[in-house]
């Protein structure tokens, strides 16, 4: 998504989204699944997903199904990048240090 900016404004909702992906960094999650895991409303969730994707922390791709066969639209699946994984780990590590210290 264009020029990537690795700096992401960290909010509680952003941390909860990252936490959902860090449980299994290799998993691809759609927005509906993230909503089920985090309980974040759509009005807040999709801007966060797009923000993280724009920052290069996430990559997204369409689900490899035929809508006519599946009888539903394709889902957009998100996945952590290596950069996203590293940065998200650093963010949580800093929070843990701060809390434990």
């Amino acid at each position: 998504m264009g020029k990537k900016d690795s700096n992401v404004r960290m909010s509680l909702q952003t941390l909860r989204v990252l936490e959902a992906f860090l449980e299994n960094p290799t998993v691809q999650l759609a927005g509906a699944e993230v909503h089920q895991r985090c309980g974040i409303a759509s009005g807040t969730l999709y801007p966060i997903l797009l923000r993280l994707e724009s920052a290069g922390w996430f990559v997204s791709q369409w689900e490899s199904v035929d809508p006519s066969i599946a009888g539903r639209p394709r889902r957009r699946l998100y996945r952590l990048t290596s950069t996203g994984l590293r940065r998200a780990s650093e963010v949580f590590a800093s929070f843990n240090r701060g809390v434990l210290a």
Partner: protein, 303 residues
Amino acid sequence: MSQRNERSTQPELGGVTHWLIHHAARRAPESLSSRLEEEWLADSESRSSPLSRLHFAVGCCWATMVIAADYPRSRVPAASPVAAARGFVTLIDRNFAYFSLRSGTLFLIAGLHAALFFGLIALSHTHGLATPPNLQNTVVDPVPPKILPPQPPGMEVKDWMVRVPRPVVPEPRNIEVEKDPTTEVIEKSQEPYSPPQPFETPTQVVQQVAGGPGAGFPETTDFYPSVSIHLAEEGFSTVRVCVDKRGRLTSEPTTVKGSGSTRLDEAALKLARAGSGHYRATTEDGHAVNSCYPFGIRFQLKK
């Protein structure tokens, strides 16, 4: 009954949900519009209840506003130049629509207030400049200042009061002449003396004593003409003399009223001249002053 109602409302809510998602995706950046619409439709299908889908669709409308704010024009990827142009125009339209939706209303209200304000100012200015026709083009000549003649140096009018010197009010003289065996000097003029009327009523009464023949005044017998004695002429002559403070004549005596005999009148004038220095000066409040007064001289033969 309730199941029938639920079934009848499901298509309606589904239609609303699809319309909201489609509307929200259309207001998103052009590069994300189709993607978000498909993604949101797919995610909405995962919701179980229609109300949950409707809630999800409403959230998508809110998400569109946030995404539009997060994704400026430069960050929107363009798949092709045509798409880029379309996206640019669409962004302009959307930005303009967003601008007109919120700020536009504010600017419109502010503009209306400004127009009303300037209109009121212009109206008041117009009324302020309007003047009645009778007051227009009326030139009033300036009143020339009064030019006073310059005063001579050193003379300044202190006030407007004119100080008039106190008038001298002469009183009737009491002429005393020493008794003579042959002649008789009348002390008082036969004609009553009428003093000049003052212009104004004197504000101060002056005690004045008229003068007359005094000590050492010549005898009338020495001046009785011999011819008159032989002719037995008798008469009464009134002369007027002006005497200074010392009793001396200041001017030539004159005959006020003759006796009928020229010789007796001339003898009276000689007597008056000879008496210079022996007149009693007129006094005012005890002070001798210069004065003129008449007195009578009687030439009478002794019998």
